[in-house]
């Protein structure tokens, strides 16, 4: 057996990915810049702040060579606010609170603005849009972007727990943060479970279920269940789908297919 792990990244691999998130540190000692395979690391000059990948920040923290500045969202106040939105707000009864916007994506405050994705180009000439864990969603910002409401980044469970384990002395009121993270996790887990009803939508071709705002670890937990259920539903409905395909192919051959008639059946996805 070349590879024993199931399809989809597992929990330990998700934690591995979360360790690529960038965090802000205050170094306690000098260190020259390094050229890592994951990109260059800026020179450390105390007391100037520096941005490092989380795994490196934790390595320095464990050796008492640096202090980690907690991410903007990992404070009691923003977490309490997010928890209130998740549990009380009418709009988010069945939905997760909105994630931090991607670069080029309009903020949640101005909904009418159109998104304009700004791609980078790879050395092979393909388009590349940056996404977590390679966005600065866990750095300690002091910029004007505080206009945006606080939001949970994609790797919030992992980053939160890693920092609580290794750097709890750098956090503001770690016990309170731990309690809030646990509450958030329970509220969101309940939402994930209540969304099981609409899984049928993903079993049809072209349909899907929106899970916007979900965290990486939450996704990993539900992956086995969701894919299992949807694949089971797909197998049950496969003969019906085959018949519909043949019918559509026939209609298209007669020139009567306008490509939209299927939409009404597949609109019942979770409203996120």
């Amino acid at each position: 057996m070349a590879f024993p792990l199931p399809r989809g990244v597992t929990a330990s691999e998700i934690a591995f990915l979360a360790e690529m998130e960038t965090v802000t540190i205050v170094p306690r000692q000098r260190l020259d810049g390094l050229e890592l395979l994951g990109g260059p690391v800026e020179p450390l000059l105390p007391p100037r702040r520096a941005s490092l990948p989380l795994w490196l920040a934790l390595l320095l923290k464990r050796q008492r060579r640096a202090n980690i500045i907690p991410p903007t969202w990992l404070h009691p106040e923003p977490l309490a606010l997010i928890l209130e939105v998740e549990s009380q707000h009418q709009d988010y009864k069945n939905a997760f609170s909105p994630p931090p916007p991607l670069p080029g994506q309009p903020s949640i405050l101005d909904r009418d603005a159109l998104p304009s994705a700004r791609p980078q180009y790879t050395p092979d000439g393909n388009r590349y849009y940056a996404a977590p864990p390679f966005l600065p969603q866990n750095t300690a910002q002091t910029m004007a972007s505080s206009r945006d409401p606080p939001s949970l980044p994609f790797h919030w469970v992992e980053v939160g727990n890693l920092l609580l384990d290794a750097a709890s002395d750098d956090l503001v009121d770690p016990d309170q943060i731990r309690r809030l993270l646990k509450d958030l996790r329970e509220v969101r887990m309940a939402k994930m479970r209540s969304g099981v009803d609409v899984l049928d939508a993903a079993a049809t071709g072209g349909g899907g279920i929106a899970l916007t705002g979900v965290g990486s670890m939450e996704l990993g937990e539900e992956r086995g269940f969701v894919t299992g259920v949807v694949d089971g539903l797909r197998r049950i409905g496969s003969s019906k789908e085959q018949a519909r395909r043949e019918q559509m192919a026939e209609q298209r051959a007669n020139g009567g297919y306008d490509g939209t008639q299927e939409d009404d059946e597949e609109e019942d996805y979770m409203e996120f």
């Binding site: 590879f3 989809g8 990915l17 791609p119 590349y128 849009y129 072209g206 929106a210 894919t227 597949e266």
Partner: protein
């Protein structure tokens, strides 16, 4: 800095600038997650993997040089000279080990899929590169062969140039693996079968014996483009579009519906 460092920095060439190291690392990570998330083998990103492997080779040399320099100098002078040498070494080694882990996991995930669907990929490669007439005459000729063996149903892919989605070592592994497997089947049980039942790609009765990856399985994706519609029925036979994903959304959709958008880099697998 000594002459080796200068030579090494020249050897890297123009394509290996620092930003491209970071970008390549992100591309590798994303490709690894994607490969782990879908049931079929994704197209091998040959240029990317070459750059990554080159960079790893250089990094290993750098680490060896650093380690050697710490050994040769006296411990006392080394400590005063560069107190951070051990720290630097451990950081570089951790970084290298993390990248090596991704590459190893990626390759093993691919090998697992290749061995699982070996006949499917062999037939896929062979059918694309040969004209169908030749393979048909070959198969009718071989079915009349009284000494029909399971090995005969393994297509020969030695002369092929277009190996997508596999890399060259993967395709030669695939052929060797399937030939060994067919030989083993022949020796253990298939040799006792009637000769018309000995083919591994038998499709008598309308049921193909070749199992391929299930493209209709659902995957978790994040939409990175402004708007990406989910295609109904896959890229080849588009029956129209289903729901539309907006930028930043996370969806559970069929892999066949977003495969094209993934190829254009507009969605990311999670």
């Amino acid at each position: 800095m000594d002459i080796d460092d200068i030579l090494a920095s020249v050897d890297r060439g123009p394509g290996a600038s620092l930003e491209s190291a970071a970008l390549d690392h992100q591309l590798l990570t994303r490709f690894w997650v994607a490969e782990r998330a879908v049931s079929e083998v994704l197209p091998w990103p040959a240029p990317l993997m070459e750059r990554i492997m080159d960079r790893m080779r250089i990094q290993i040399e750098t680490i060896e040089d650093l380690a050697a320099s710490s050994d040769t100098t006296l411990p006392t002078t080394a400590n005063t000279h560069n107190p951070n040498l051990n720290l630097r070494l451990s950081i570089l080694q951790t970084d290298l080990a993390r990248s090596q882990y991704i590459v190893r996991s990626l390759l093993r995930a691919r090998l697992a899929k290749i061995t699982k669907y070996s006949m499917h990929y062999l037939v896929l490669l062979a059918s694309r590169n040969k004209n169908s007439l030749a393979s048909q005459t070959q198969s009718t000729a071989s079915s009349q062969n009284p000494n029909q063996q399971p090995e005969d149903s393994v297509p020969d892919i030695s002369g092929l140039t277009d190996l997508a989605p596999l890399s060259e070592p993967e395709s030669s592994f695939l052929h060797a693996h399937q030939t060994l497997l067919a030989g083993h089947y022949a020796g253990s049980f298939m040799g006792a079968f009637p000769r018309q039942l000995r083919r591994l790609d038998d499709n008598a009765g309308g049921t193909s014996m070749i199992q391929g990856p299930e493209l209709r399985e659902v995957v978790f994706v994040r939409c990175l483009g402004a708007e990406v519609p989910v295609v109904v029925g896959g890229e080849e036979e588009q029956y129209g579009t289903g729901v539309t994903m907006r930028m930043g959304d996370v969806w559970v959709v069929r892999w066949e519906g977003v495969k094209g958008a993934w190829g254009r880099g507009e969605v990311e697998l999670l």
